[in-house]
Amino acid sequence: MIPDCPPETRRGVMARIARSLFGVTAADALLAGATHGAAAGAPAGPARAIVTLFMRGAMSHLDTFDPKPGRPEQGETGTVATRTPGVAFGAALDRLARRSDRLAVLRGMTTQTGAHEQATYLMRTAYPTIGSIRHPALGAWALHADGRRGGDLPGFVLVGNANEHPGCGFLDPALAPVPVADPKAGLENTRRPAYLSAENFERRLALADRIDRDFRAAFAGPQVDAYDRLYGEAVRLLGSGELGAFDLGREPQSVHERYGTSPFGRGCLLARRLVESGVRVVEVEFGGWDMHRGLFENLPARAEILDRAMAALLDDLAERGLLESTLVVLATEFGRTPKINDNAGRDHHPAVFSCVLAGAGVRGGVVHGASDERGFAPDSGAVTVADFNTTVAAAAGLPFEREFFAPSGRPFKIGGGGTPVREVLA
């Protein structure tokens, strides 16, 4: 679990305690054995890390990545030419337009539902919501199939609102995303109170373990076991010297300004720091796109936050040579209606929308698929949510053709058994 850890360090002691109290080592060895099977059919995708920017509430495709200039459906949103000939974005995406040579835009995205909760779940897991099982999010799949990268840091971090996130689904609870509610505050409660010595902390842990033994034996089950696994994770994290990755205070003011001081901008900056430290998957959530009214007043400011933060993220990753090993995914729930409603807004529109890929494993300067002249339905290059997730999995080198079995014995595939979009893959 923690390789080459000198036993005399506090960290080593913590690790030994985690092992002995929580059985962390045994479980991990089992998992490792289970997951390092043959990766049949998987291309050698170069993305070692994935940063997903998830637009909650459904981002309008017409006003961002798929404008229809000159059409009445376009409303008040202007356009800006990109570096890719013949391709324009919504006017607020000025910075991304200048970086379109890095982007693969999928304009023929189509989904099955126009309900937020179900569409969010589908985009994150590639499977529709059903009552009998909870599917893992892509980040948990990546860790399950391919292991972690960072030493003691979690493999999967979720920045923003964690409610409704499918998390690790039916996979090992230790693969669940670690939620960071506020990127400015980072990961809280990681410092032992000043009065508490390491020895006393260990005494407390040992006492808790002894007293709890009967209960854990009597009520063993997935929920109680999940906490057992995470107690091990938490102890491991507390002893880690890498927690500084969560501290945005270590970034100079000029960097903060490039990302923007919005929570989303900070989230993207945190994502960059975490990827740099070896975290495998970071998801940053950005809400507020559900613009049923006043879209033309509200969208420019929101799109500008996205534009600034995502452009800074791409620049920073490229500057550090990390864009060659990091896949950046911009995803949302569904599109919004071409018809502008009576409240100057747009309603839910699952028939067509846009998503964007950039970085490792992906071709830049590409637009795949197109919506029709009104932006109502895909005209060419239709891509389902499963296809999209499979494309992400392919770019990240995950074994998307392999069947994995849930504890109930049912088979599932990473990416939901879709077909990868070869046109956007490098």
Binding site: H116, E117, D182, L187, N189, N200, R203, V224, A226, L230
Partner: protein, 168 residues
């Protein structure tokens, strides 16, 4: 408020009493919240979840443990996360229990170890310690530098059991 009180001597005490009675009985949420600030501890209001405004901000103890964001029906969750455990380890809500001034710390401050252990178990786990629990807890109290540290260790340990987290 611009009440014209000229020519009348306002009975401020009576007014304050009436105001308090009013806020206690049917105060709107904002006023109730202000009165809850009396129970503040390190920036947190220690009161029943149902007395607090909802949804609480992201990152609040209750949100960490899955309180609904109230954006969709049934939006709460019961999923285990690492930050929950970090909050139980090091967070202010755990430490409020260990310090003088908390109901439990006051109850056990001057009690002999045997009684203190009973109070701690009944308060946190709603049961008496069995023989093994008792000897472990007594040992923890007797080997600590002082009684308060020993009590703190036992309280902390019980708060960090799965028995405490789960409703049986």
């Amino acid at each position: 408020m611009n009440l014209d009180l000229s020519g009348r001597k306002p009975d401020l005490d009576a007014a304050r009493e009436a105001y308090d009675a009013y806020t206690d009985s049917q105060a709107p949420r904002a006023l109730r919240k202000r009165s809850l600030d009396r129970f503040g501890y390190q920036g947190l209001v220690l009161a029943r979840a149902s007395e607090l405004p909802a949804p609480l901000p992201l990152g609040h103890f209750l949100r960490q443990f899955g309180q609904s964001d109230r954006e969709t029906i049934d939006g709460g969750r019961t999923v285990a996360t690492v930050p929950q455990i970090l909050a139980m380890f090091n967070g202010p809500i755990t430490h409020a229990m260990l310090e003088r001034g908390s109901a439990i710390a006051e109850q056990i401050a001057d009690k002999p170890p045997g009684e203190a252990v009973d109070v701690i178990f009944l308060t946190i786990l709603s049961r008496r310690p069995d023989a093994e629990d008792r000897s472990l807890a007594l040992e923890a109290i007797e080997t600590a530098e002082d009684a308060a540290t020993g009590h703190g260790n036992v309280i902390w340990a019980l708060l960090n059991t799965r028995e405490f987290l789960f409703v049986q």
